[in-house]
Symmetry: C2
């Protein structure tokens, strides 16, 4: 790796730790520079402002998650297991990095284009994996899904409904451990019921 790339990665890694622990608003560029003994000037040479660093952190994280997800799903022996694995990985990611993604949740539809783009890609990637797994399930006779893309969308939208309903109803920004537990329990049970439903043939 080039020296420049290594320095860039060092910064991203330090910023990731700070953002994940304290959130975007409560982290300063000075703190990040200190953590890795960089001058502030050097930090600003790589990232002109905190938002551009944040975007790079999100991008970096999503690459990591995607690689990890693909590997984990490949190890599962059935399509249903693969989808349950994806749901579980997604939950672990959200719980671990809640403070980091909190900012984007607060921004809502006014998200900067650069960030919106990263999330759109992440969503498309997730949909592609699920569609692939449903397809695999069809081929092996595990499922009987007529419209793969349509069914994938329904699944992803429904599961996000469970997530946000719990959070909105209790007007929480940062859910505690018990709330995460309930969300995960519901999402897991939901996935089981939905996948059982896909096993049925002759649906109208």
């Amino acid at each position: 790796m080039e020296n420049q790339d290594r320095k860039r990665l060092l910064i991203i890694d330090a910023a990731l730790k700070r953002f994940a622990h304290y959130g975007l608003a409560k982290t300063t560029m000075t703190e990040i520079a200190k953590d890795i003994a960089f001058s502030k000037a050097l930090l600003y040479y790589y990232f002109p402002d905190k938002l551009s660093l944040y975007v790079s952190v999100i991008e970096h994280l999503m690459h990591q998650i995607s690689r990890d997800l693909v590997k984990s799903v490949e190890k599962t022996s059935s399509a249903a297991e693969g989808i349950l694995m994806l749901v579980q990985k997604r939950q672990a990611f959200i719980q671990k990095y809640y403070k980091l993604i909190e900012y984007t949740k607060m921004m809502g539809p006014e998200l900067p284009d650069e960030l919106q783009d990263k999330f759109t890609r992440a969503r498309a990637f997730e949909l592609k994996i699920i569609t692939g797994l449903l397809n695999k399930g069809n081929a092996s006779g595990e499922f009987s899904v007529a419209d793969l893309n349509f069914t994938t969308e329904i699944f992803v939208e429904a599961i996000s409904g469970i997530h946000f309903n719990i959070l909105n109803r209790s007007k929480i920004i940062y859910p505690d451990k018990e709330q995460f537990k309930l969300i995960f329990l519901k999402e897991k049970r939901f996935t089981e019921i939905f996948l059982a439903g896909l096993k049925q043939t002759n649906r109208s």
Copy 2:
């Protein structure tokens, strides 16, 4: 019916028509009074302001819907049919009264307590009907649902995810016919898959 009650109902009925057609903001008390040839003073005697009239309209509507729903569900021959009927009635209600409920959607968590209370009751009523239908399905051997309340919550939250995902993604306040059609198609297919999943026994 007492004369007072009849006058009150006349006002509510006229307001309902205006709100459903033009929304809350674009309707004036003067217009409502004109529609039924009442003096403004008389209108204000029954309802001191537009919000109190709006709350009564919502309450009136919810009573109507509840009665209609119970009747329709009673006519269905299986639990699954009953739940599909409920989903369909809910969709028809949302589409017909979208302009009327739009205001409450805009308000979000800052909804006045009186209104919040009506919606909490409506939600509780809906959950009760679904739990009842799942219970009926268990008794007849149609379903095999371990935790009735938990499963009801999952179902309702998941279906609202489908509804809001479509609307939020396209940043729409008032969806057009095509968008409603897509939402309804997805919700119907979702319900079919979910109910098929509940037919499976021996889930973990």
